[in-house]
Amino acid sequence: MSFPDKNLNALDRGIRGVLGVITIYFGLFGNELIGDLIVQSILVAFGIVNLISLASGWCIVYHFAGINTRAEQ
């Protein structure tokens, strides 16, 4: 899959990576804490979206909003 021009800087990608891992962890192993399948599935989906952003350096929301943290650096 190819993405348009990257629009995330290193810090942005880092934050997304951490958030992605945390949300996926809670989505998969947060049964005790959350205990709701729907909420957990959404958390996993969010996490995956963030990990995709981390890997590709591109965020679809930034793309449509016209934000580019990469260019500001």
Binding site: L33, I34, F64, A65, G66, I67
Partner: protein, 660 residues
Amino acid sequence: MGTITQLQDLRGLRSRLIVASIGLAVLVSAISTIVANRLAADLGQSTELNGLETQADILLAQVIASKNTAYRKLIFSSLNGHTNNTESRSPILFKIEINHQEVVGEGIDDRMLSIIQSTPNFDPNSSGTIEYKDVAYLWVARSSGSPQAATITLMKHPESLEQALQYVARRLSVTAFLTFWLAVWSALFVSALIVKRVKKNNELLSFMATHDPLTSLPNRVKLIECIEEFTRPHKTLDISKPNQSRAALLLIDLDRFKEVNDTLGHAVGDDLLIALSKKFREVLSPSVILVRIGGDEFIVWCPDTGIDQAQKIANQIIQSCREPVMVNHNQLEIGASIGIACFPEHGEDADTLVKRADIAMYQAKKSRQGVRIYHEEDDTHTILRVRLNSELNSALEQGQFVLYYQPKVVLQTRRIKGVEALVRWKHPELGVIPPMDFIGLIEQGGRVNEFSYYIIDQAVQQIRQWLDENLVITVAVNISPFNLADPELVPFICNVLDRYDVSAELLEIELTESASMLDIKTTKAVFRQLRKIGVKLSIDDFGTGMSSLAYLKELEVDYIKIDKSFVLDMEYDSRDRAIVRATIGLINDLGSEVIAEGIKSSKAAELIKEMGGRYGQGYYFSRPIPIDELTELLPHRLPFRNSNTRELKADIILLSDQRG
């Protein structure tokens, strides 16, 4: 009212939209969390209270049934599972009174009991919640009536409810986190979308406000903005400094545009303006700004341009303007007059520069110079123009316009063949005003038809007067191209000829070459009608209008008048001579008669005669003169030597006097 720059300023809109969207998301999340939490708490509480009430009802029944005190104690101790040795973390507190004496109790003291009994709406069979030493308790009271009055009070700290609430709160907070995240995304997305749309609309609005819708060129608003931007930093500098930046403002006014609009319609006029604006843009360098300020007026603002360069640019524009333009299958030839005002010499602000360029343009148009740089003395001409314009109506009503006549002479016999009627304004205070000072005003004022009718009437009346004196003299009247579009012209001429009982061939209609070529179809149609009634036709100023010979072939006219610019110097200029000779040959071969304008000497008259020209007109014979002077000359041969007539005035007067 705001400015265009304010319209383009969108700073803050986006951040405000984001803050507002996120704020709204936080508020909605908070409200839904609180409501869900309270709902869960209420549900849990009522469930626990129901359970406690059921227990109390069962206990009361058992207590009443058993008489044995020890058994009653056992019943109560089983409440908290004491019998199974499993202790609940939140034990049920209880108290039982029979006949107002405590039989058994655990954990409930008198103080607790008094708090319960002091709750509003307390009755012996009710339930509710109290707070005791910062701990919340559920309570249930049950009482049986006589004969054996038993009262049971149960109390419980709802720990399982708290656990449930914690559980609910965790789930809600995760959901709130997700909602918040989504809200941030949508805030970014929606704000970007709104800002983008607003920006686009504002750009369109500011474009519309600063551009002319027809040609898409910038308009006056944009021009003033550009001039102010350029002049602002210069206002503080010393004008005498040699390296001071300069600029030029060129005001272009199209010649004969009104005629195109009136004869061919506004759609053609609009197309012509679009075509010309493109042409101008091609000629001009990208650094200059071309503006349409309305009608057929354009302004070129040239920053960092001196007078010489401005003049060069103006000449380029005039050149490009002279090339024929094809619009709607009409080949249009249009001229332009340009006035130049320079910054900072002629003005330091937009208003002054435009005003002075306009004054210069008017002078250029009047003197047919093409381009003119503003001079201070032009101001007085402008004042005169404004005055004449205001007095035009009353002058027409009071008949202040009179005809002067310039004889046309048969070169062979030197006899007067006819006269050309030239209009003068006999102003009560300013004296005799030449036509070039007021014809433009009449054309702009839209009173051309009325004016031409007046002149034609005067001319025919004069023919009648001469006929009454047994003089048969043709009179030529100049008409404007505007008259061609007037369907009443030919009927009017018929009417006038009838009224004065004058033969049509004594009236001659003159139209300049450039005017007749403007819209060849209309010209042909009107000429055909005029020929039909017998009026003589002639083309004036031939050789200056850049007409196509193909068109000339189509126009059947009786006379063609060679422009004076070729005749004046032909004695000395062999090239002029060559042109005149060839033109005479051409006109003769086309079957029309030649009239040479601008004959200022006997030699010129002889030359024309030798070349085959039959008629001549010019200062050598006579300048345009009033009727009484002319009447004296009529029986005589020309050239005459009348002491009242100052012959052979300077060329410049001759040039100006020839139009009418």
